[in-house]
Symmetry: C2
């Protein structure tokens, strides 16, 4: 699963029920996958374990059929229950060593980092990929952390060998810039799940990432 | 660990930071254990995974030293991370079969039930013990479920072979009645953690349970 992981992180779509215009996670994810999403993350911060498992199973089936990576945010137990490819953990979630011990060596673990120090620590601890704190200003997730900016993104990407996915305020207008600064791909919430045409929004983002990667050589 | 499980569920104290008068979980748990608590559950509904693991490790050390059972509410991953004796799951938490598959055969799993049907289902699914929905009126946990009353408690206890722990509005005045109706023990939150003298509150409850069990023969 680690083979060519970077390529499978080009367009990483994170679910958000509140932003989905009343559409279900399945509907949004099917449409995003049709537009070229390469990875999906189920995120439901206030959801019960039961709801996460129920929706997670559906997304696991869709992503498996499409050959798309599937991650669960925060909950290692839910990720294991639905046989996700891995889990994505923030700095307030289960510590990486505990998650790795519980999950075993196979599943992927992504860690959110906001600087080079956290990036190196996560890589040393066995993270498979990194997500950044918001690179650009965003209203989706209020974290209290100011946007990192492109220079910090670049510093993080240079600091580690594992793929780095840029997140936060990313759309077709700036996805290429994130890739030029070293990101393997971009993670988005509202730019895809809140779009009127989810497939088209995903397709445009994917095209921007692919073009920037081709240009990077 | 399943040997004599019922005896180890006589006085089951559930933590609640908001009710603890500013005392830490460790302080409350040490005092409760000194008063005869036989099982402790860490419950922190809105806590981050990181905080649950940090406090859980401390409670695991205290309970291990005291030979007291230690459970984590809701989060199977946290229970595994801190090497708790088991997890306690409500009907909205991870489904029992998933929890068992993730945890393996060894850890204990307790399930909250509100009627005989759920009780039989949980036992058939491999639950090790049951907790009831609130038997008496309580202000600690607003569940929307009306109090079960003693007759439903009795029906649940008769319906299964695994131990049943009565919870909800239980204090020294009615703990004995719950035991006479078939409960192996009582679970409490505020009756112990909100008490001015936690050790004394635990001691009184434990004495009431022990006396009722002796009388039940």
């Amino acid at each position: 699963m680690r083979e060519r992981l970077a390529e499978r992180l080009r367009l990483y779509v994170v679910t958000d029920r509140g932003l989905s215009r009343g559409r279900s996670e399945e509907e949004v994810v099917r449409a995003a996958v049709a537009g070229g999403a390469t990875a999906i993350q189920l995120r439901g911060k206030d959801w019960s374990g039961r709801d996460l498992v129920a929706v997670g199973r559906k997304l696991r089936a869709i992503t498996r059929e499409a050959g798309v990576l599937f991650f669960v945010n925060d909950r290692v137990d839910v990720a294991l229950a639905v046989e996700a490819d891995g889990v994505h953990l923030g700095q307030e979630d289960l510590p990486l060593p505990d998650a790795r011990r519980i999950m075993g060596p196979e599943p992927l673990i992504g860690i959110t980092v906001q600087d080079e120090h956290q990036a190196r620590e996560a890589e040393a601890g066995g993270a498979d990929y990194l997500g950044t704190s918001a690179v650009f200003p965003t209203t989706t997730k209020v974290s209290g952390v100011p946007p990192l900016g492109l220079e910090v993104l670049e510093a993080i990407a240079r600091a580690v060998r594992i793929p780095v996915v840029a997140i936060g305020g990313i759309g077709p207008h700036n996805a290429a810039e994130a890739v030029r600064r070293g990101a393997a791909g971009v993670a988005v919430v509202s730019a895809v799940v809140a779009a009127e045409d989810v497939t088209r929004a995903a397709r445009e983002l994917r095209a921007a990432v692919d073009a920037a990667l081709a240009g990077r050589g």
